[in-house]
């Protein structure tokens, strides 16, 4: 899970989920606590989907 996905591609990650921002990849301080938690849940859900998906090559799982 990474904000700068070109770096994930360069280093060779196979399952990549784009995130929000460098200092808070899995959150957004501009949101309310509840909204932020929901956002994080959505992102982690996507990561779990990526883990259960068969990939043949480096893949970016857009959220």
């Amino acid at each position: 899970m990474c904000t700068v996905t070109p770096i994930s591609m360069t280093v060779g990650a196979n399952r990549i989920v784009p995130t929000i921002a460098i200092p808070h990849p899995l959150g957004n301080p501009a949101l309310t606590h509840e909204e932020e938690y929901a956002l994080r849940k959505k992102l982690v859900t996507r990561a779990l989907e990526a883990l259960t998906t068969d990939v043949k090559d480096q893949t970016i799982f857009e959220v």
């Binding site: 990474c2 904000t3 360069t10 060779g12 899995l26 959150g27 301080p29 992102l43």
Partner: protein, 347 residues
């Protein structure tokens, strides 16, 4: 008096034969054999190959200890000013033997050594230990390799200063030397950019590390039974950073237990990471390591369980080699603990 050189070659370059003769044991011959002639010619009498050691590639690979001992015995007796091996081009066992005997001669006898091979030859793994000229991948490159090696060899024998790898033709060996460039950095960078835009050749002054590629692992079959671990390069550590993970160029990683931890809080965790504004991660460390969400998924039964340890380091300026070493170590721990999948977060 001219400098005295001992040369190491394989059965093929000694004209004994190819693969069918690769089993021949080491043999000592007087004078030059095969490619040694080209070295002698390039040295124009200033140096001379006094003896040539010939060894079959398979023999060396299969009897490394004996073969090396024999070579060392002969080189020690000959007391040459230089030991030269190859060039081996892309012949794997030959390259390995060249690099390996050179290393032994240099370290055990204190005699300068030089070899040459193709950069992808397995023997080139020793390029940081043994000076080796970069050659083409086939013996067709001998005409170019021999003079380059001969010139560098002469400098070694005379004890002259060795220039940069790009000038002398050897493989970069990780040694950096300070020097003044003729033109300032901004000018060089703009020249490089203009060449790039014009599709002209240019040489970077800061090559990127080469990253390996791994085949994707098969997917996790059943999340509801899976153990999922969290790892991060975002520097999340227990408050106070007990293992003193550096804020940049981390020298180690941390392993921390999550038993009984429902979520990360400002009071209990923080980030050790430099280079990004740590305010948001310190305020709510779940923004980097999502323990809160993973605990909810665990309770719901969406995942089997959250692994009880998380692994963490600081990615800021950390060497690729260090990161690789950390991961190789904790990946083993994850596998041993029966972890099925890992979510790695990075900042």
């Amino acid at each position: 008096m001219s400098y005295r050189v001992v040369h190491y070659i394989n059965q093929f370059f000694a004209n004994i034969g190819g693969e069918e003769m690769a089993h021949v044991p080491p043999e000592l011959r007087e004078g030059h054999v095969g490619p040694g002639l080209a070295f002698n010619q390039a040295w124009k009498g200033e140096a001379e190959i006094v003896q040539t050691i010939v060894c079959g590639d398979s023999y060396y690979a299969e009897h490394e200890k004996d073969a090396k001992a024999k070579v060392m015995e002969w080189v020690k007796a000959a007391k040459p000013d230089l030991f030269i091996a190859g060039p081996a081009f892309n012949a794997g066992r030959y390259g390995y033997a060249c690099a390996n005997v050179c290393k032994a001669v240099q370290e055990e006898l204190g005699i300068p050594v030089l070899t040459g091979m193709y950069v992808e030859n397995p023997g080139a793994d020793l390029k940081d230990k043994v000076l080796m000229v970069s050659t083409t991948n086939s013996a067709a490159g001998m005409r170019k390799a021999a003079p380059t090696m001969a010139k560098l060899a002469m400098k070694l024998m005379k004890g002259e200063k060795i220039g940069a790898s790009c000038e002398e033709g050897y493989m970069p060996n990780g040694i950096r030397v300070n020097f003044f460039e003729k033109e300032r950095g901004s000018k060089r960078a703009v020249d490089m950019l203009l060449n790039k835009l014009a599709d002209k050749p240019f040489v970077t002054e800061y090559p990127m590390p080469t990253f390996d590629r791994v085949a994707p692992n098969p997917p996790v079959k059943d999340l509801s039974k899976a153990t999922i671990a969290l790892c991060t390069s975002g520097g999340i550590v227990p408050k106070g950073n007990p293992d003193h993970i550096e804020s940049s160029s981390a020298s180690h990683y941390g392993e921390y237990c999550l038993k009984g931890v429902d979520k990360l809080t400002e009071a209990t965790y923080e980030t050790a990471h430099g280079g990004y504004d740590p305010v948001y991660a310190n305020e709510d460390p779940n923004r980097v390591l999502p323990v809160d969400v993973m605990r909810e998924f665990e309770k719901e039964g969406k995942i089997g369980k959250l692994h009880e340890f998380f692994y963490t380091t600081v990615g800021n300026g950390t060497a690729v080699a260090s990161a690789k070493k950390f991961a190789a170590e904790y990946a083993k721990k994850l596998v041993a603990a029966g972890v099925d999948g890992v979510i790695m977060t990075s900042t």
